[in-house]
Subunit: 408 residues, 2 copies
């Protein structure tokens, strides 16, 4: 038996007047999800605990059976791992923007003219930066104006402030230690040097000279934010005795899977938006199940995007499109299939909320309840009642008959 956890990112919602006080999931036509509810055991799930607004990162960490309050200190490490930086426990990672400063050091464009190409070349320049301190600078471009910075060495800390002033017309903020430790002071010093040196290295970079000639803002400085220490987590495969794999669209979720030691499967056309290629995702899942992995984490991100954008119809339609591929995935044999969300992203709030999300589990031996619809309210009456994210792996391992008994 194999286990699949499929997470429809941000699918949970609140009743919407225009939908006759239904949620997008209630309003959507989802015969396949409803069939799963009919054949499975349902409930509601708090990713962390009731009322707590989980991020996608902290929720996935919790669902995979780790304690986010222990493991999570910021988004940086997961973003870095997600774009393929080989982070190590103890590394301090930052999200960065390529920005544009004028010759007085004022930020004139936080996104460097929304630069699209050439960042790999610039990143290479920063990546080879040498500091006097015995600290290695690892720097890699992400999509658009985004990049990650990783500091590796002894005596570093994630307790440092952001260099990003969040507004144009200001100089980069001086990075400060957030506690009294030597490590935080050292890290803040290094970060200030990296920002300064990035300008020196980039101001006359051929790519920037060309951008200025073309009337584009140069990517002549890097501005870090969101410090986080790479956690030392027990690899997921060892923790559960599974051979795990992850199919995800966004760097954040890929990064979590990577730090948990899971393999990643790349899906062509997976955009993380509502325009993603669900057909390819479905085929990728079916192909992956046929291989020797016994656990697959799947994250599909479009419903969350629609929620953040407040696009009600888009969210309903995307859920219906996901329902179609679920119809195909239900045909896979010999699996426990868990369908849920990582949090609610209500259209009315346009951000994550602490509302619980529906969950259903299908597979042999399940105590099938009488819930017939998969949505936020109907699943409340299911056999799982109200569980937490960090219960899911224990329940799955038990169903897969891979648990060890605690006691005699």
């Amino acid at each position: 038996m194999k286990g699949i956890i499929m997470i429809i990112d941000g699918m949970g919602d609140r009743p919407i007047e225009e939908l006759g006080y239904k949620t997008p999931l209630e309003a959507a036509v989802t015969p396949n999800m409803d069939k799963m509810a009919e054949n499975g055991i349902c409930g509601i799930m708090d990713p962390i605990r009731p009322g707590i607004r989980a991020g996608s990162d902290t929720s996935h960490i919790s669902i995979l059976g780790y304690d986010p309050y222990e493991v999570y200190s910021g988004r940086g490490p997961f973003e870095a791992a997600g774009i393929g930086v080989d982070v190590l426990p103890g590394d301090i990672a930052f999200r960065c923007n390529f920005s544009s400063v004028d010759d007085k050091g004022i930020i004139i464009d936080r996104r460097a003219g929304r630069i699209r190409s050439g960042t790999e070349e610039i990143a290479h320049t920063i990546n080879s930066m040498e500091l006097e301190e015995n600290v290695q600078v690892i720097f890699k471009e992400s999509t658009g104006h985004r990049a990650v910075l990783v500091l590796r060495g002894e005596g570093l800390s994630d307790q440092v402030s952001d260099a990003d002033p969040k507004h144009e017309g200001k100089t980069p903020k001086k990075v400060m230690a957030l506690d009294n430790s030597e490590e935080a002071k050292k890290t803040a010093d290094i970060l200030n040097k990296v920002v300064k040196k990035s300008y020196e290295l980039l101001k006359h970079h051929p790519l920037n000279i060309k951008r200025i000639e073309n009337g584009e803002n140069p990517a002549n400085i890097i501005i870090p934010r969101g410090a986080g220490a790479v956690p030392n987590v027990e690899p997921f495969g060892e923790k559960y005795g599974l051979n795990p794999v992850c199919i995800a669209e966004t760097g954040l979720i890929k990064g979590i899977a990577t730090i948990a030691g899971m393999q990643l499967i790349d899906i062509p056309g997976a955009t993380g938006g509502t325009d993603t290629n669900l057909e390819n995702i479905k085929n990728g899942i079916i192909e992956t199940v046929s291989r020797d992995y016994d656990f697959i984490l799947i994250n599909v991100d479009g419903a969350d995007e629609a929620g953040h954008d407040g696009e009600m119809d888009e969210k309903v339609k995307f859920i219906e499109k996901v329902d179609v591929i679920i119809g195909e995935l239900m045909k896979i044999e010999d699996i426990y299939f868990i369908l849920t969300a990582d949090h609610s992203t209500p259209i009315s709030i346009m951000d994550h909320t602490g509302d619980p999300v529906p969950i259903v589990i299908t597979g042999p031996g399940i105590r099938v309840d009488d819930v017939k619809k998969f949505n936020e309210l109907s699943t409340v009456k299911g056999g799982l009642c109200r569980i937490r994210g960090n219960n899911i792996m224990d329940i799955l391992m038990d169903l897969m008959n891979k648990s060890t008994k605690f006691g005699a």
Copy 2:
């Protein structure tokens, strides 16, 4: 949006044969509470955890989002704060009786003839008591024969036994240290001196001479019990970023609110009994909501009193009277309104039990479930399922859109 938590103290109960195996809340005619259930999301709530018999104090502490196992060491500090003693973290507080001893030191009346007047004058005498040790004695009368004692100074402990022998015909018990610490020994010594000295100061007090002349038992000794250390809690307003206020009837709940740094609103005619002036309480709530507070904790105590007295009809009738004012409170706009109890006080047990209590939340964006009656059993099928006291503030903060996201 503002938040109201209204707690009908001790409202939960168990089925009663004379009520056709209904609980008092099931038997009571409560069209307004039922309307709240119909318009809201329902569930059951364990103040601490399933089966634990919560006090009103520990339950309120939990509902306000503090850990009672950390914060609560006894009732003394909350009673003291509730009658207006300005307690400080680290103070050791005791509940006291004014009692009557004969000249052999035997307690002839634990309640000093249920003394009603003049205790302020006696309390003043005790309050100005000076000890050799560098410890301040703060003493204040409460209602009737009740009073509070607060010891303030370095090196004190709440790990001391009671002086109260609980029965007449005995001498006050020698206070003993309950652990081996120097602090406990010192505190026990001081307490024994305070008891002894209280007799010296009071035996010839003019008020007592007059009482004896009138054939009344003198209030010639104070007998402390229920030691508790005043906890150092993060003020509720800072913890949640709210401007909070409390409307309560009893010193105990007022004391909790005070120690949590909440403002108190005094309601004329609020007795804490079934004879309380609910009309004034209702008007007080409506007036308070119109001011710049954004969180109101309300406690109405009569149902608990009826439960402790085993007065079934009284409990049913009081719940019906509360239902009338809830009808008015439901008309307040732009609020999240949470109605629940702090614990069950079943008629059959005449004390608190660990049975969960019903809870309902109304307000915009709520996932309204199909529960139509507000009582112990019907709410089980609601959208909240079974939550705990310390989930309530997280859920409310999320609904009020004042939560910060944990993660990205």
